[in-house]
């Protein structure tokens, strides 16, 4: 596999094949907590993407300078710095978004997706791959949050991105925008993803069998 191919695979894997939420089951806390509307999912995904990208770049650049024994501590320092920067900048520049997400911005520090990518990927790979990996994972995470948020908003409030879809006669399924709705939506999506993966594995196993024969 040449460098170009590798960069492509590392970037694309986060979006679908190794989607952080649906396949790796990482970052479930924000995926459940802030996804009661599509726009909240998008904003949370954006903030997480900023932190993930920034941290991956720094960790990858300094990976040979950070001694093994203190690597987790160093990663956390880097991540926490980016989160605080994101928190303060949002408060200063986009107060409306900050008002919606509130406490969840600060909680990006403990999003295991971010620390997980540093430990599993950025600290072991060269800079361009780390960037590709971070971009892919961030896009995949944002996609998952918008999907969960969109479904919950449509069912629970009859709107999408704030635009009303069904008019006055729609009786909102209120539980979908409450915490249980997050679990229900995510659970159903996980079933679908698991089924897709299963049938794909079966198919590739069959093909491999044919070739062997």
């Amino acid at each position: 596999m040449d460098a170009q191919d590798k960069l492509y695979t590392e970037t694309m894997k986060g979006f679908w094949r190794e989607n952080p939420v649906f396949v790796q089951l990482l970052g479930l806390c924000p995926a459940l907590a802030v996804t009661n509307s599509a726009i909240n999912g998008l904003a949370m995904g954006g903030a997480t993407a900023f932190v993930l990208l920034g941290s991956s770049i720094l960790v990858s650049l300094f990976r040979n300078l950070i001694p093994k024994q203190v690597r987790i501590t160093s990663f956390i320092i880097i991540i926490a710095t980016f989160v605080t920067v994101a928190d303060l900048s949002l408060q200063a520049l986009l107060p409306a978004v900050h008002k919606e997400l509130g406490a969840f911005i600060a909680l990006i520090v403990v999003n295991c997706l971010i620390l997980g990518r540093q430990e599993a990927f950025a600290s072991r790979n060269r800079f361009p791959y780390a960037v590709g990996d971070a971009v892919g994972m961030a896009v995949g995470f944002t996609f998952a949050l918008v999907l969960v948020g969109g479904i919950r908003e449509v069912l629970g409030n009859g709107s999408l991105f704030g635009f009303s879809l069904f008019g006055e006669s729609f009786e909102p399924w209120v539980i979908m925008i409450l915490p249980p709705g997050g679990f229900l939506t995510l659970g159903v999506l996980l079933i679908i993803f698991a089924q897709v993966k299963k049938s794909r594995d079966k198919r590739s196993a069959l093909e491999a069998g044919k070739e062997a024969a």
């Binding site: 009661n36 950070i66 001694p67 093994k68 320092i77 710095t81 303060l88 900048s89 408060q91 600290s123």
Partner: protein, 212 residues
């Protein structure tokens, strides 16, 4: 991860010290840069809210509480605590007061500001400044126009009470939001607390003004 040999304690301490130092520098820089903007945002939100809760007003004067008395606020910008705002129209006629108040909601502190007309002794507007109520339910205290309209002509005597949705009869009653009773009650409670704290002060200030 390239070095297999273990780094000595000095290396470890040095690494963390440098990381902490750089991180601190970055944070201080960002904080210093954003702090004035953040404060400005809060003040702008408060300022806009004053004119909203006292309809028709275009100028305002801030008063702060000192020794149990209202005195004109001297200083830059707006006082953020223990203050009320007198709101005037274009001709300098007093239309009412914007009274900020806060208290516990369903999840976290709700802070709001409401308009009070001392002549008719009614509440003439209400706006929530900050809350973390449940999105989709509790946040209807901001987004549900029917609920907000409760506070456009609301008598304060003997006190504001919240009643079940759609059963509002007396002038001092507020229709709760169905599904968000606790948040609705919290808003009413916060307004009553504000009344208790500031109305005697406002009344005292009016008396002393009229009898110089």
């Amino acid at each position: 991860m390239s070095s297999v040999k273990r780094a000595g304690p000095f290396r470890l301490i040095l690494t963390l010290a440098v990381a902490g130092f750089v991180s601190g520098l970055v944070l201080v820089t960002v904080y210093v840069r954003t702090a004035p903007l953040i404060l400005e945002n809060q003040k702008a939100a408060l300022e806009a809210a004053i004119f909203k809760v006292v309809p028709g007003s275009t100028t305002r004067k801030a008063f702060e509480v000192k020794d149990n008395k209202l005195v004109p606020f001297e200083g830059d910008g707006l006082p953020m605590e223990d203050a009320v705002f007198a709101a005037y129209d274009d001709n300098g006629v007093l239309l009412g007061y914007g009274i900020p108040s806060e208290g516990p909601g369903f999840q976290d502190t709700i802070s709001l500001i409401y308009g009070y007309n001392p002549e008719t002794r009614t509440i003439i507007g209400m706006e929530v400044l900050e809350s973390k109520e449940t999105p989709g339910l509790g946040d209807k205290i901001i987004k549900d126009q029917d609920f907000v309209d409760n506070f456009k002509a609301l008598a304060i005597e003997p006190e504001v009470v919240s009643v079940k949705t759609g059963t509002r009869e007396a002038a001092n009653e507020v229709d709760s939001i169905s599904g968000a009773t606790i948040s609705s009650k919290a808003v009413v409670k916060i307004i009553n607390a504000g009344n208790e704290k500031f109305l005697p002060l406002i009344a005292a200030a009016h008396e002393s003004e009229e009898q110089p």
